[in-house]
Symmetry: C2
Subunit: 237 residues, 2 copies
DNA sequence: GAATTTAGGATTGTATACAACCAAACTGAA
DNA sequence: TTCAGTTTGGTTGTATACAATCCTAAATTC
């Protein structure tokens, strides 16, 4: 039994430890350290995070509801592998929802929200230039999340969040790290359109942007399998 | 302790008992036997369904993810009560998604799917005429679910399902049982448009239909009687 | 009598024990 | 060797015990 594990602080009932574990696992998946198809055993994850299977089980359930992992009865959880044939549907769905969101959000953002968005895009640019793929991808997601919030429609923003997360998984699976398109260029234009308050242009730019992302994917082949302890070991000792 | 409980068959590991419990609870909520705000204690539900809190907990977690139930930390679960101010957002979101779905589904359904839909609407009509509200509402949902499937876009259909379920809860909360609009009239027209393969008309009819439902709600009376301060605010001290 | 404290009961949160299950290695006969 | 059946190790599924927390209401204080 490899004991190169590091447990988190053994706090009693920390309210968001579950959220933390959720994010750690999701991050590792987006960083492509856990490839699609990789198995996620409850015992191992529990040991890694210093927590019982009960918690891990809830986290996995949540991840599965988001479509990030698949749970098969009596067979456990593994990172979702999206068939090539399904990819287009996700991007089409994003066009529908985020297109509408742009229409609704145009001209509704105040100056602070616009500024926040711009600095976020600047941050995104730095990550991409320093080739930290996972971070860049997550920051890019955050940009889309915040734009979704500007439509002032919670349910629709929820839908967008789900699709964006799910799509990030697809991008991690099919996009070549080197050739990750300069998402931040498109993003700047999107924000400009929102500020200008032009719904038609805002929507058109988003449709185009989503098309760009889609077109950078290498829809051919994939995937290995790995050791959980090793993957999580380079983080906090 | 009332022992008038009926347990399901005490099978060992029945795979969909969880699904069954999920549906039972949801049904009861749609039938308005559990009003918004009603608490759902794990122990009681476990005893009712002859199952341990572990299972109930998972069901409640799922219901909460669908937005049907709210879980507050250390406080347990209760039926979600949607504030009047939020209602419009849900219907707007449905317009966006189901409008797009109608465009995509127009002309794509084969004759069997159309037939199935029509017989489902006939069933719906019977339920409404016999004043069995819950059943009627659920059948109406089923019509929308199936239409969503016709767009041949799984992710979008998923989004639609979530919104439709969530909206059903809102309808149960705000719609007068007697005056429940004849949803099936609209439904028949929707199906006709799908069969004819006219995307513009299909979309327009769906937008109109959703508007109809929205307009039948009694949004003036604040039935979510949870906030005591609001309730007593306009009375004498 | 009103406000604060404190005790009790009820409910949720987490860990763990054990049963059920699957998959892959093993056995032995054709 | 090959194929059924069997065993075994590891993993998931469920129930339960106990700890942490919250809610109610009685009790104490002012």
């Amino acid at each position: 039994m490899a004991k190169a594990t590091k447990k988190s602080t053994p706090e009693k009932r920390s309210p968001h430890q579950e959220q933390l574990i959720y994010e750690r696992i999701f991050d590792v998946i987006l960083d492509h350290k856990l490839a699609p198809g990789a198995r996620l055993t409850e015992e191992a994850l529990g040991e890694i995070f210093g927590v019982s299977r009960t918690i891990i089980r809830r986290v996995l359930l949540r991840l599965s509801h988001e479509g990030v992992v698949e749970i098969k009865p009596n067979r456990g959880a593994s990172v979702t592998s999206t068939p090539v044939a399904d990819v287009a549907q996700f991007f089409e769905a994003r066009r529908v929802i985020e297109g509408a969101i742009m229409r609704m959000a145009a001209g509704r953002a105040n100056i602070y929200e616009i500024d926040d968005l711009r600095s976020l895009v600047a941050e995104e640019k730095r990550y991409y230039e320093s080739r930290t793929r996972g971070k860049g991808l997550r920051t890019s997601n955050e940009v889309h999340f915040r734009i979704a919030a500007l439509a002032r429609n919670e349910p629709l923003a929820d839908m967008a969040r789900q699709l964006i997360s799910r799509t990030a998984l697809i991008i991690a699976q099919y996009q070549d790290a080197a050739q990750s398109a300069c998402a931040y260029c498109d993003h700047a234009a999107l924000i400009d359109a929102l500020e200008a308050g032009d719904p038609d242009k805002a929507e058109a730019l988003m449709l185009e942007h989503i098309g760009h992302i889609h077109s950078t994917l290498h829809l051919s082949e994939e995937s290995p399998a790995v050791d959980l302890f090793e993957i999580f070991s380079d983080e906090q000792e």
